[in-house]
């Protein structure tokens, strides 16, 4: 089982590259069980969205 720290790195990397099957499966299982990491993933998604929506 991946730790939250490892998951946080994978969540970030999933924004930059395609994860391999093993990483992807490990991430899925962990996220299913871990509230904190799910929120972390939402935070990362928000940061990406924010950058794409720079105001004009």
């Amino acid at each position: 089982m991946l730790t939250c720290k490892e998951v946080s790195m994978l969540v970030s990397q999933s924004l930059d590259r395609r994860l391999n099957l093993l990483e992807w499966a490990g991430l899925r299982v962990h996220l299913l069980l871990c509230d904190g990491c799910r929120r972390f993933r939402q935070q990362m998604a928000f940061i990406r969205r924010a950058c794409r929506h720079f105001p004009g």
Partner: protein, 199 residues
């Protein structure tokens, strides 16, 4: 999109000038330096004026101008990275190692549980949010910030960034991770109010 933006003939200098404040804000966020940002915007407006015949009107003038500005910023990034040299980049990578260890317990669990950010998309309309956002990006180390901006604002792939900055993919991912973590922490402390939920 305003009507007068749709035809290339209407892209007068006066109209282009109207976009200067926006372009400057965009450049400042990424270049963190007033004179370079002003130069980049100036060059963008001049290039736009010179090439206005190529403006098809398919996208808005703002999108078109931002596209030109992105190229100018990228040129500056390459120049800055070259001037700073690989040694300073390696040093930055080394010095940042372990920066986020305090966020986790020794067994890899969260030390500080990530909190739910309330209604995040609403923040994007808030001027104050962007001020904080800008301050937070300035806290990142220089190379890290550049890599982050190339990825998230200029929309480059990690392969392109690796090539441009002459770093390995792994180092690129490490820098992006650190940039995102530092932004997350800064936003959490200074914007999302530090209302920690959960245990």
């Amino acid at each position: 999109m305003a009507k007068n933006e749709t035809t290339s003939g209407a892209l007068s200098l006066a109209l282009l000038e109207e976009y200067r404040p926006y372009l400057l804000r965009y450049a400042l966020l990424q270049l963190r330096d007033n004179p370079s940002a002003e130069d980049a915007v100036q060059e963008t407006l001049l290039a736009a004026l010179e090439n206005r015949a190529t403006f098809s009107g398919k996208s808005s003038a703002k999108t078109w101008l931002t596209g030109i500005l992105k190229h100018k910023i990228l040129d500056l990034y390459r120049k800055q990275a070259k001037e700073a040299g690989q040694v300073s980049l390696e040093a930055e990578l080394d010095s940042g190692a372990g920066d986020f260890d305090t966020l986790f317990q020794p067994d890899g669990h969260w030390q500080t549980w990530p909190q739910a950010w309330a209604d995040p998309l609403k923040n994007l309309e808030n001027k104050r949010f962007w001020e904080i956002f800008e301050i937070c990006t300035k806290l990142m180390p220089a190379h890290t910030a550049r890599v982050f901006m190339m990825r998230e604002f200029l929309g480059l792939s990690t392969e392109e960034i690796c090539k441009g900055m002459q770093i390995t993919a792994t180092n690129c991912w490490v820098m992006l991770y650190r940039a995102r973590m530092s932004l997350k922490l800064c936003l959490e402390h200074n914007w999302f109010g530090g209302k920690f939920e959960g245990t």
